[in-house]
Symmetry: C2
Subunit: 463 residues, 2 copies
């Protein structure tokens, strides 16, 4: 029995007909695999995120000790971060902990309540303050650059509150993770001696879940970090194989890039488990921000990118599957199946006539959800839509670690296939600068002027 299985069979014309990938679609990319593999090898030392499963024994030990103290001392643990600094923690939390964790008793939880605040919505922030007492809360402030405006704003608000509430010992309530030498937050760490962790060079935000950015959350949540890293490490080994027939990351990248070249511009990740919805959300950042690029490495204008969509089975069968089946041939649906849920619920026959619904009793929810997945996959395949399926024996730390690494390696490989830089995000700059300008930051006066110009729209409706 395998832990994790990846089946690309329904991507091809042999299974889905006209709109599948043909040998002709695949051939040019298959010829490219040697070049891709060479690129992946040559850049391996820059892709420091690939080493994370193997080099963190010391750091993990330290984080576990820190986590133990946090859980002993505090009632709540709050991650302050956004994008790559938040999505990994969210995926780990909902993926591996009780789905109503914060509503359980302290005893049942076995640790502090857990929140990730990845927005600057004031109502969200105040809602948090209604359910935590900052005095009894530990905040993990995460920004690689040390300058992220959202996170630094949150940090300042918290800092003021903690100083007011606690006084001189306020620092005990804060842990910081940032660059090892650069940035505002690093200066603050050094000047005031906050407990801190490092985001290593070569670990971009969206590739950072397996460094302290995500792992401190895992430690506080008493998640099996060794298993998480073991899954990632095993998958990494699998995805280093130069032979694409043995390398699922390369095959994922190849099929998605071949489809992209045919105009398939949507990548749906649809787990059949509430626990994995945030993993799909994490994937959405990874795939979008890495591959959504205007120029390739030669400077050609390409406007590449596939829009990731996170869906949930069976729920979205009643929302999206009508479109997936009858709509355009514009997407790849990647199902995630869970063979064994952590628990099950038997559907016993009620002491009441059930009329047409009499076929239901005797089964369990775990059976039902997997029957529905089989049925939906069958239906989507019948409609000739590209789909694939990843099967997990169960949702555990090992498999989630393996999924993280699979998608990270697939993303990097897709960058090589497309010959783009999968590791930058230049387009986010303009919006940041515009925010600086509107916040009145020195040096952005011209932009502020431009932004404050009232653009007269010709098409406005009011109520």
């Amino acid at each position: 029995m395998s832990k994790l299985k990846i089946d690309f069979g329904n991507m091809f014309t042999s299974q889905i007909g006209e709109y599948g990938l043909t040998e002709g679609d695949m051939a040019p990319l298959k010829e490219d695999v040697a070049r891709v593999h060479k690129g992946m090898n040559e850049k391996k030392s820059e892709m420091v995120w690939r080493s994370l499963p193997f080099v963190q024994d010391e750091i993990v030990k330290d984080m576990k000790e820190t986590a133990k103290k946090i859980n002993e001392k505090f009632d709540a643990f709050v991650v302050l971060g956004i994008g790559g600094s938040a999505l990994g923690s969210k995926a780990l939390f909902s993926g591996l902990k009780h789905l109503h964790y914060n509503e359980l008793s302290r005893k049942k939880r076995g640790g502090a309540r857990f929140y990730v605040i990845d927005n600057v919505d004031p109502d969200r922030m105040n809602a948090l303050f209604d359910v935590i007492d900052v005095k009894n809360t530990c905040f993990h402030v995460i920004t690689k650059s040390g300058a992220t405006v959202e996170t630094m704003s949150q940090f300042m608000i918290i800092l003021n509150m903690l100083k007011d509430a606690i006084g001189k010992d306020y620092k005990d309530n804060i842990v910081m993770t940032t660059d090892k030498e650069k940035g505002t937050l690093k200066k603050i760490v050094d000047e005031h001696g906050f407990k801190s962790y490092i985001v290593p060079d070569g670990v971009g935000g969206r590739f950072s879940v397996l460094c302290p950015v995500g792992l401190l959350s895992a430690a506080v949540l008493n998640i099996d970090i060794e298993a998480l890293l073991k899954g990632a490490g095993d998958m990494h080994q699998k995805c280093e194989n130069e032979n694409i027939e043995e390398n699922p990351a390369y095959m994922y990248a190849l099929t998605h890039c071949a489809a992209m070249k045919k105009g398939v511009n949507i990548s749906v990740l649809m787990p059949y488990a509430d626990a994995l919805l945030d993993t799909a959300e994490w994937y959405a950042q990874l795939w979008a921000e890495s591959l959504g690029k205007i120029v390739d490495n030669k400077g050609n204008t390409v406007h590449f990118g596939q829009t990731p969509v996170r869906a949930l089975g069976v729920t979205d069968q009643h929302s999206q599957v009508q479109l997936y089946r009858e709509g355009p041939f514009d997407k790849i649906i990647c199902f995630i199946k869970v063979e064994n849920y952590n628990s099950d619920v038997k559907i016993d026959k009620p002491d009441m006539v059930m009329y047409d619904a009499n076929y239901i009793p005797g089964k369990s929810m775990g059976e039902l959800i997997n029957f529905e997945l089989t049925g939906t996959r069958y239906a989507v395949t019948k409609s000739g839509k590209m789909n694939m399926i990843i099967t997990l024996d169960k949702v555990d730390a090992y498999n989630i670690g393996a999924l993280f690494m699979l998608f990270e390696m697939a993303t990097a490989a897709a960058g090589e296939f497309l010959d783009i830089n999968a590791f930058d995000q230049p387009a986010v700059e303009t919006g940041k600068q515009a925010t600086f300008a509107l916040m009145g930051r020195d040096g952005y006066e011209d932009m502020a002027k431009e932004l404050k110009k009232e653009v007269q729209s010709e098409c406005v409706y009011t109520l």
Copy 2:
């Protein structure tokens, strides 16, 4: 000051250049407006959901009384439904209530804890059972057809638990909403005398939020139903105008259909408020299931449909905006702006050197989030990507009601523009039948045989 403003200005070449909509793109659809309007008028009596804001005085009164009793007697209220039977309740709940509602004290909440269980994930179901006591919980079972396998399964599980826990009075813990005369659940209601509400004919699941399907949740949550319906009613009046210059639903439909005809196959809804994320989720069903159609009304094979994507500002600026700016010209981004949040958080200057982040203090989170929206909209527009913006003066029941009706009317009008049936979902049938077959329902033996055939995939990887 308007309550709600809709600005389509950045959809057009005049603002975004080459990839915007041109007069030439718009002209044929503008000529079609008279036909669309005629269709909307002729079918008005079938589109019963349009009348919901105006005809429910009696029902609302009854629901309020029921809700009062529920809140007096029960500690938790659980919606059992899926798709259109769940998404409206979720949008109302997170849209108009505290973002950590269930973690507040009973006194602060002012009513029962609230859950929507819209999946058959056994771990989700068991997680619910860990935080509720069925004895003290009221379940609202919603299925229009009275046959939805997910909801009927949940119902049977609950029924057995309630009978075990309570005995003969178990019926007090259940309210049902279903068809007025057809279906299994209706038979059960009649036979056993459960408290029940009706989904009127002509109100499909995805158009049902403003009937008891969504309104009983609203009542239990002490949401201002009158304001909700008033917003919807006012918007409906606006969207009945035959003149497209006065009708935002027609303009929404026209611009989106014109873009669709140019290959724009993605519709992003990106509110800058955590509270509105589930409204975007609700929209995703409405837009996908209504317009994702293989044939038009003349029987032509069309494969229409735009894939809806729900995004969250500012959070997804750090996840999706890189793609939105640099990627393909394949999407419309509809921003939702909130002028006044319900609360704010001032960012005071900390008693600590803040280096490069010194420009931040003195502003508030409410200012920051809106600066970021302005900046991102500016950046996306600079990149020549189609975008539009809906501005709410605040997130309240009136505006959410108005948004529901705006999108419903826009969806119906888009169905007319595209000459498709926006109110059916035939493609969901195959998956349902496959589930029946796998569940062993009589009459589906052949399908079961086909489904149980092992398809040999040629492309499998294991770990």
